[in-house]
Amino acid sequence: MEPQRIKATLESLIFASGEPVSLARLAATLEVVPRDELRKALSELTIEYSGAGRGIVLEQVAGGFQFRTAKDHAFYVRKLLATKPPRLSRPLMETVAIIAYRQPITRPEIEALRGVDCAAVIETLLERRMVRVAGRKDAPGRPLLYATTPEFLELFGLSDLNGLPDLSELREVEAAIEAVGAGPPIDEPDKRLPAAPEAPDLGSSQAESSPASHQAQSREEPSGPSSKQG
């Protein structure tokens, strides 16, 4: 692939992802291109986006590369977004949906389901108070457990978690995975997740997780934005 095209493709990929994309993921997507060339194209792109009259910058953050608005325009960006509340982005929506239905759940478990690093997304959900830390899992490394908040319920117009729509697919998928006895866990993640051999008792159905546990807003333990880079 010629340099010009590599750069254009990277621009597409990073833009469409929304979440930070690691070099490893970019490399896995553009298999044909050697990493050296990717690095070169990325640094060229970064420079192109750093010009004075630009409204978007290409930043390297914890999880990888991401386009963001230039800080100078924050005032107007806020003003625009305030006129019409945005939709939740796909990564945020997927992650909060997983947490809602499978709470309490750890980050590795969420990542096993989504197939991508979710540190930044979870961080954002914590900031937006849609998700809270609900303790630690009794498993090696004692990973943090995440659950939804009262604000989450409010946002979706739910009085409690029992109001979450039943997902027939959820059962089907669980059954399918059960039958296979492998693959990312849906139910009882602890049993099958490589990271966690044992864990506290997770309600098997989403309806069971008690709304009461939503009371506490244990924001004390922000999950470290573990800067894992591919």
């Binding site: 960006v77 305030a82 939709r87 982005s89 990564p91 949906a97 117009g157 997902l167 296979v180 492998a182």
Partner: protein, 258 residues
């Protein structure tokens, strides 16, 4: 790109061959069927009432009927219309009133077909555009900075459910499935088949299942057989169409190192 728009292949292959599988053409209703027949006969839409079209239309309905498939009411209504138009055209020329009525019916039908065809073409043109999620992609946009209350997002429960469905779908799509039926893993059937073939050399397909009264067992065995064929360990040969299927084991290639 227009694959989905292309009319299905219409092959009334109901010749006396009960065991043969064939693809049943799927039409989006009588108008779709008529347009297909017109195109196949290289006629113009205005010639929809040509007797060749009417005949083929009725043949199709008969085929459905012979397959014990329910013929939807709208197909029958259209059949009646076609026959009515035909009967008017057979009237002696003196009957001006009848001829006029026939022309009117025909005009209505042609207009409907043309109109339907227009929307179908429009659908094709739309499908040829750059489609979001297929050809082009947007960005999710930037989340609001600082701690704005969660309630400032435009979301619905529907979005939430759809998001989870997308995740689950990806998980299941990516999870390599090993098919297990009840408690009979397909893998367990494989050695049994190989054993059966080793003993008899050539085994009749049906014989493999002889004495099986348990459906899951039959299915698991069949899946195991498919797997063996895929791996090139077993070969299946048939004596002509609908003939006996013979299975035999392909000797593993001698490994160079051995």
């Amino acid at each position: 790109m227009s694959e989905e728009i292309e009319p299905a292949v219409f092959k009334p292959s109901v010749d006396g061959d009960p065991g043969r599988r064939f693809r049943l053409p799927v039409f989006e209703g009588p108008l779709d069927l008529l347009l297909h027949l017109i195109k196949r006969s290289e006629l113009d839409v205005h010639e929809v009432t040509a007797s060749v079209i009417t005949e083929q239309y009725l043949e199709y309905l008969e085929m459905l009927d012979s397959l014990n498939l329910e013929v939807a009411g709208e197909y029958l209504v259209m059949a009646a219309t076609l026959l009515l138009i035909k009967s008017f055209s057979l009237l002696p020329h003196a009957d001006a009133e009848g001829a006029e009525e026939g022309e009117e019916l025909k005009g209505d039908l042609v207009a409907r077909l043309l109109e339907y065809q227009r929307y179908r073409e429009a659908a094709e043109k739309l499908l040829a555009r750059s489609i979001l999620g297929r050809d082009v992609f947007g960005a999710p946009g930037e989340p609001i900075e600082e701690d704005s209350p969660a309630a400032t997002y435009r979301v619905t429960l529907f979005d939430l459910v759809e998001a989870l469905r997308a995740v689950l779908k990806r998980v299941t799509d990516q999870t390599p499935r090993e098919i297990t039926l009840r408690d009979i893993p397909v893998a367990q059937c494989i050695p049994l088949i190989l054993e059966a073939l080793a003993q008899g050399g050539r085994v009749e397909f049906a014989a493999l299942f002889a004495g099986f009264h348990d459906r899951p067992l039959v299915v698991a065995t069949f899946l195991a057989l498919l797997e063996l064929i895929r791996r090139g360990q077993v070969r299946a040969r048939q004596e002509g169409r609908c003939g006996t299927i013979w299975l035999d084991r392909i000797a593993p290639e001698p490994t160079p190192s051995a």
